[in-house]
Point group: C2
Chain length 136, copies 2
C-alpha cells in the first residue's frame, strides 16, 4: 500500500508570504491531511512578534528553528533562539515568539503539535492572551 | 506554569555530524522529553540513502525538506524532493529517502511521527526492509 500526500512550499525564504490569511504560517497538517500531528512552517519578519500569547490545554509543542535570530517567551522565562534551536513546550505553558529587529533573515521555524490522541478528537484546545510581551 | 526543555543543534549544515551512533539523525523527542510526537532532524549526504526501507503500523509521518535535492520512495512511487517539499506518509506505507549524487548540500529534513496516542504507549511500531531502492 502506498498512501501519501505531498506539496511544495517553495524556498524557505518565501515562507513568510505563503498564507494570505495568516501571513507567515502554513498549517501543513491541513494541507496534507495529517490526523495525528499538527505541523506548521513559519516565517516571522525581523522585529515582528506572534500576534498573541497562546497555550494549549493538552497539546505538547516542539519548535525547531531554522534561521534568523529571536526570542521565545515561555511563561515568565525568555530563551534566545537561532538556527538549530529546538524547544519542547509542555501543555499549559504560555508562549510567544519574537524575531529580533536585527535578525539577518525572517525567523523561520517548524512547529509540531501533538496531544497523544488524534487532533480532531480534542478540537481547538488553544487559549490566547494579549498580555504584553517581555520584549515590548 | 512554565515547563519547557530546549537544546542547540547548531547550524543546519552541521546536522549530518550531530549523532555519533546514527550519523545524520537526531531524535529531538528523546533529547527534549517530548511524549506525544517524535521529531527528528536529518542530514543525508549527497549520494546517500536511508539505511533501509521502513514503515509504521500505526504511526503517521510528516516530512519537511529544508535543503538539498533528492527522492523519496513511497511504496512503488517516487517523488522528487527539495527545499520546501512536504510529504505526509500514512501508516503501512513503505518509505525510503535518497539524496541526489549532485545535491548541492546534504538533503536536510525534519521528520515528525505521531500515532494519535502517546508514543510510549505503542512502543516501536516500525518494520524494516532491505529490498532494493528504486534509485539503486
Amino acid at each position: 500500500m502506498s498512501e501519501y500526500t505531498s506539496m511544495e512550499l517553495g524556498p524557505l525564504d518565501a515562507w513568510h508570504a505563503l498564507d494570505g490569511a495568516a501571513p507567515g504560517k502554513v498549517f501543513l497538517d491541513r494541507e496534507l491531511g495529517a490526523t495525528n500531528s499538527g505541523v506548521s512552517v513559519n516565517g516571522l519578519a525581523a522585529g515582528q512578534s506572534s500576534p498573541f500569547w497562546h497555550r494549549h490545554a493538552r497539546t505538547e509543542e516542539v519548535y525547531v528553528f531554522l534561521g534568523g535570530t529571536g526570542r521565545m517567551a515561555l511563561g515568565d522565562e525568555v530563551v534566545e533562539v537561532r538556527e538549530g534551536s529546538a524547544v519542547r513546550v509542555a501543555p499549559n505553558t504560555w508562549m510567544a515568539v519574537h524575531a529580533d529587529a536585527d535578525s539577518a533573515t525572517d525567523l523561520r521555524f517548524v512547529c509540531v503539535r501533538a496531544a497523544g490522541v488524534p487532533l480532531a478528537e480534542i478540537g481547538n484546545d488553544a487559549e490566547m492572551s494579549h498580555e504584553p510581551f517581555p520584549w515590548a
